[in-house]
Amino acid sequence: MISKYKYTIVLLIFAAFFIFGSMEVMDYILRIRETQLLTESGRVEMESPVRTWESWENDKEGMVSEDIASEGNVLKIEQIEDAIKCWNERNSSILHEPVAGQVSMEEAIKAGEMWLIEMGIGEEKDAAAYTINAELGVGVQTGEAGEQLEAYHSFWTVKYSSQSISAVLYLNAVTGKVWGAEIVLYEEQPEKTPDDRLRLFVELAGLQVSDDDSVVIDSGETRTEIAIKESQLYAQERSYSMAIGLENSYKRTTYQLLIKQD
């Protein structure tokens, strides 16, 4: 009986040996690989997601405001549209260090402070009282490959917070201009009309307002829109007030540059 099935028994033993042996071998190889992966160290090059900025040759055609040109790098209107589109449609952002042609953190923070003063939101004496946080990032869409973008796609996100104000400003890293802002005011500030505020925002962004009238829509929150000259862009201001308890209230205002939808 045993001799009749001896090959079958040997075969089963061999098969079992092979099955469990192959498991052990794979486990062993994976352990070696795991050790390699989990003891890795060294220095890696951090590839910047943006290229260094080489400003376009003295081609002034398409430049929006000549008087602003002296203050920093100037972009063509197409480049501005491209940068706005990329930033507004971002799903996440990749932080990176400034590359050549981009403003530094100090410059961005100072430009933001200046913007707040010029917009009449803060005063120069407040600057030291702010808690500041700044980071430089480039917007990326989901599934986008790691291809390097132009330097003007990067934005400084600078946060200022104090007793009376909380502001998040988005400054283009090449121009150093504020192209978006989220302001929360806890104290009353000298009021301007929404139209005036928006025109000032556009001017400070280094752009020119179209001759068309601004559109004001008031439906619980005030939304004002104004077209940008010779471009697909328009600026938008949205603001609303909210009460916290009986005595406290705050006003939230956002400024954005947007692309017209065809």
């Binding site: 092979f18 220095r43 890696v44 700044a134």
Partner: protein, 464 residues
């Protein structure tokens, strides 16, 4: 080791290797990707916290020279545990869970960054360290990103994979067994059939299903078995013919020898009158001549098998004109009439053999007590047909197949009376074969016999 074992083992080996290699590649790829993603995340964490630190230093360049308790308050500002050291290695701040061991502290403001993956107490971390400069301040920042959950997930995946491997193996083991059995069953059938044939059951065949290689093998096997069966039948037949031949030959020798011995003994023992001596000597002479005739015919029969004959183109009509002179008197002697109607034609023959063949056939017809013998010849396309017909007793249809066997006689007693030995038709059959012709015999056993001899007309080579 049986084929079943080999196939089974092959299946198991291939299955195991494929599964494990595929699993290894998959897990290794996933593992590598996961670690790579975690490294990117750790670097992003570092980048984020570097900006936080720089912002703090921008706002307050003397921040790390404040009271320790005040410095400790910044731990909430960072998104991950961090450590801050001065260029000289002076400790400023740390909320790291563990120390990363040795890290590359490089005082170079370039775009390269140091990292280290480190395991402690079963937890895995990625430490990232770089030189940071903000205004007058320069220091090192170390961030710690916990990747234990990712590593645990990967380890769980390996365990899960091995469990799946065992489960699939448990499911597939019986399937492999059945599949192997399915493959080897037809081979077992062929083996059994082979053994039965080897045991003498030549009619054994394998039932064929499908069109795969094993079905083809079974088909070929059946063909081979058919051929063997046919050959065995032929050999049995030949052996029987030889036995019959030997028995008949002995019998044909014994009959005349008995007479010869009897008469010779009588002459030796007694003093007989002259007339009786003459009569006895006559019997001895007649039986001796019969034996001589038998031996000559047998010699012809054997010679026909061995010798090569040169066939010549000859006119059929001319041959039969000569043969008629020999056949016609014999017919007359037996009271039969010869009817000859021959179309002219050319065939390749050895004349002496041809003559022997026709005379034997005519002799057989006369021995069948016929009244008429018809000899006809005509050409039909490339065939020249000679028909020899008689109206004698005929041959029973069941005997037709055997009449070309040597010593076979339809009516033995009558044949012996007519001094026949059953060699004639065997001789005719051999001569027909030598000429490459075909012979057909028709008879109903009552109204005579017709024999057709088909030659290639025009003297062409017979084998064409």
């Amino acid at each position: 080791m049986r084929l079943f074992h080999k196939i089974f083992l092959c299946f198991v080996v291939i299955f195991s290797i494929t599964f494990q290699v595929a699993g290894y590649l998959l897990i290794n790829h996933t593992y590598g990707n996961a670690i790579s993603q975690e490294k990117k995340l750790a670097i992003q964490n570092f980048q984020y916290n570097r900006y936080i630190l720089q912002s703090i230093l921008y706002s307050d360049p003397e921040f790390f020279f404040k009271e320790e308790t005040e410095v400790e308050n910044i731990s909430n500002s960072f998104s991950v545990p961090v450590a801050v050291y001065g260029i000289d290695g002076k400790y400023f701040f740390s909320n790291l869970a563990t120390q990363p061991g040795e890290l590359d502290f490089v005082e170079v403001d370039d775009n390269r960054i140091s990292f280290r993956i480190y395991e402690k107490d079963g937890r895995n971390y990625i430490f990232v360290c770089d030189y940071i400069r903000q205004g007058e301040n320069a220091m090192y920042l170390i961030t710690q990103t916990d990747i234990s959950s990712v590593i645990d997930t990967q380890k769980n995946m390996i365990d899960y994979f091995q469990k799946i491997y065992i489960v699939i193996l448990c499911i597939s083991f019986p399937m492999i067994f059945l599949l192997t059995n399915l493959i080897t069953t037809p081979i077992k059938k062929v083996r059994k059939a082979t053994r039965r044939i080897a045991g003498g059951r030549y009619t054994e065949r394998i039932s064929i299903k499908g069109k795969d290689e094993i079905s083809e093998l079974a088909y070929d096997f059946n063909q081979m078995a058919g051929q063997i069966e046919e050959k065995i039948a032929e050999l049995s037949d030949a052996a029987r013919q030889k036995e019959d031949f030997a028995a008949n030959f002995a019998h044909e020798l014994k009959t005349p020898m008995t007479s010869v011995i009897g008469y010779a003994d009588m002459l030796y023992q007694r003093n007989l009158p002259r007339e009786e001596v003459k009569s006895a000597a006559g019997y001895i002479l007649k039986e001796g001549m019969r034996l001589e005739s038998l031996s000559l015919k047998l010699m012809d029969l054997f010679v026909l098998d061995k010798q090569e004959f040169i066939l010549e183109k000859m006119s059929v009509r001319e041959m039969f004109e000569n043969l008629e002179q020999g056949i016609e008197p014999v017919c007359r002697k037996h009271g039969a009439i010869l009817h000859m109607e021959i179309e002219d034609g050319i065939i390749r023959v050895d004349y002496d053999l041809f003559k022997t063949m026709v005379l034997n056939l005519a002799d057989n017809a006369l021995k069948a007590d016929c009244r008429d013998v018809w000899v006809e010849g005509k050409q039909d396309g490339n065939i020249y047909q000679i028909r020899i017909k008689d109206n004698g007793k005929g041959i029973p249809p069941e005997e037709l197949e055997r009449i070309t066997e040597a010593f076979y006689m339809v009516d033995k007693s009558r044949s012996r009376k007519q001094h026949g030995a059953g060699i004639g038709m065997a001789l005719v059959s051999k001569i027909v074969e030598v000429h490459g012709a075909k012979m057909e015999i028709e008879s109903d056993g009552k109204t005579g016999t017709q024999i057709y001899l088909n030659f290639v007309a025009g003297g062409e080579e017979n084998d064409k």
